[in-house]
């Protein structure tokens, strides 16, 4: 798997290179690059969530066309849950500590944060397989199964959200 951190480091422009040699700027520059790498990774995570949401929207269209209205409410809720996750992942905090903060975030923590977000990508792929099952059941108009799959995916998405929300606490080492 591509390590975005290395790519960001390699592609530093002239000004950034100069900054990385100036005392006081060096740490700032490295941390900023790590955050950028993490932001790019989260961007991919959000894109994958958007793709999964689109697949759910296809299921919704199919159900609407076949007038299976009783499940539309539930699948609509699931789609909204994915929209929320997209926003949460896209605009998450990037691991910042101000001057004289109680808990400081160093480069090591930012690296851990990147790796944490990378693992979230793996967690997300298990949701993808469930969505595939949901699509199949929807096409076969097996409504009982569809209902159960929606509940399962909702539950997994909620787990994903919980884990993502706790990422900084885990990385900072403040999770009790």
């Amino acid at each position: 798997m591509t390590d975005i951190r290395r790519r960001v480091e390699e592609d530093r422009g002239l000004l950034k290179r100069i900054q990385s040699y100036i005392p006081g700027f060096r740490g700032y520059r490295f941390r900023e690059d790590l955050r950028d790498a993490d932001r790019m990774l989260r961007g991919q995570l959000a894109d994958k969530l958007a793709k999964q949401r689109k697949e759910l929207e296809e299921c919704r269209s199919f159900l609407a066309q076949h007038q299976s209205f009783e499940i539309l409410d539930a699948i609509g809720g699931l789609i909204n849950q994915f929209k929320k996750l997209e926003g949460l992942v896209s605009y998450a905090e990037t691991g910042y500590s101000g001057l004289v903060s109680d808990i400081t975030i160093h480069e090591e923590e930012l690296n851990t944060l990147y790796e944490y977000d990378l693992r979230m990508l793996e967690l997300q792929s298990s949701i993808s397989s469930d969505i595939d099952d949901l699509k199949r059941d929807t096409m076969n108009v097996e409504m009982k199964k569809v209902e159960r799959m929606i509940t399962d995916i909702k539950s997994k998405a909620a787990d994903f959200e919980d884990q993502f929300r706790s990422r900084l606490r885990v990385v900072e080492g403040t999770e009790v």
Partner: protein, 370 residues
Amino acid sequence: MSIIGAETFKWEDADKRNNIMFRMPRNIRFNDNIVVREDEIAVFFRDGKVLAYIDRPDRYALTSINAPIVGPIVKFLSGVQQQAEVIYLQKRVFDGKFGSKQPYPFRDKEFGLVNLRAFGEFRYKISSPANFVNQFIGTLNFATSAEVEERIREQVVVLVYDVLGDMKNQGLGVADIASNLTTIEQVILSRSKDHFDLYGVLIDKISGLYISLPEEVQKAVDTRSSMQVLGANYIQYQTGQAMRDAAQNPSGGAAGAGVGVGAGIGMGWTMLDSMRQSQQVPPAAPPQAAIRCPKCGTQNLATNKFCAECGSPLTSTQTSKCPNCGADVPPRSKFCPSCGVNISSMKKCGNCGAEVPATSKFCPECGKPL
């Protein structure tokens, strides 16, 4: 301001009142301090990226390269000045009100199509600063709680209608709504999560839900509940109501007086009977037989006692036979105008035709009853 240009900022109460968010009006410099209070979240952006959501109360010293020496040098060399900003959000709950602009037609089994209106209050708060900033500040540039509430309000009304529709499918009627308001509130709350989470808003509570019925339907619902208490059917109930109204009528009148003295006990049923009769379609009048005037020959109605033309009395023109001589005898005659026999004292047996006294019960000839 300090020697390096840094300051300590807080969200002033004057700016806070009806605002759910507040953007610091200055580019953040190195070591600018911000105070975050218990009911606030501060979002620190640097170069457009969210660096931190600060939700613990404290004073925070922020960093940026807008530092005293480095900042001006960078700006001089490259023309670049770092953009750093802080947006405050309120953590506390806000109260909003909702109400339906248009009535909602509810198809009820008992009352038919009933127009409902829903009103109530909701409490909300920011549940996810990330989504809230993106949806309301980034996308819509909302700053006041009123603007945010406006966005929420219409969706809550839609949710109320949606819940009512589903509950109707489960058998809820308009007469049951009042006794299920708290249940409806809970269902709305549970469904609101899916609708508002993506905005970073949590609907904390729905309260004071009131679903109003049109006046006439409300009266009918009241009537029905009164009937149930009395164990009466609708007609009995209405009869009783009519009697009560009549008794309370200050202008008196026969009905009131009758009820007052107890003479109107059966009046309800009389009224009921008359109502029933009034509702029945009157039968077509049978064709009336005409009577010919024995004097002038004019045809008169059978009910007339005197001729409409000449004024002569209209009696039956049917003559009878004298039982003695067989001559025609005018109606109501006591004696035969031909033989003078007393007609009223004699009659003829219908079976054998024998002359019998008028007082006889059986014919002395054939024995048949007369």
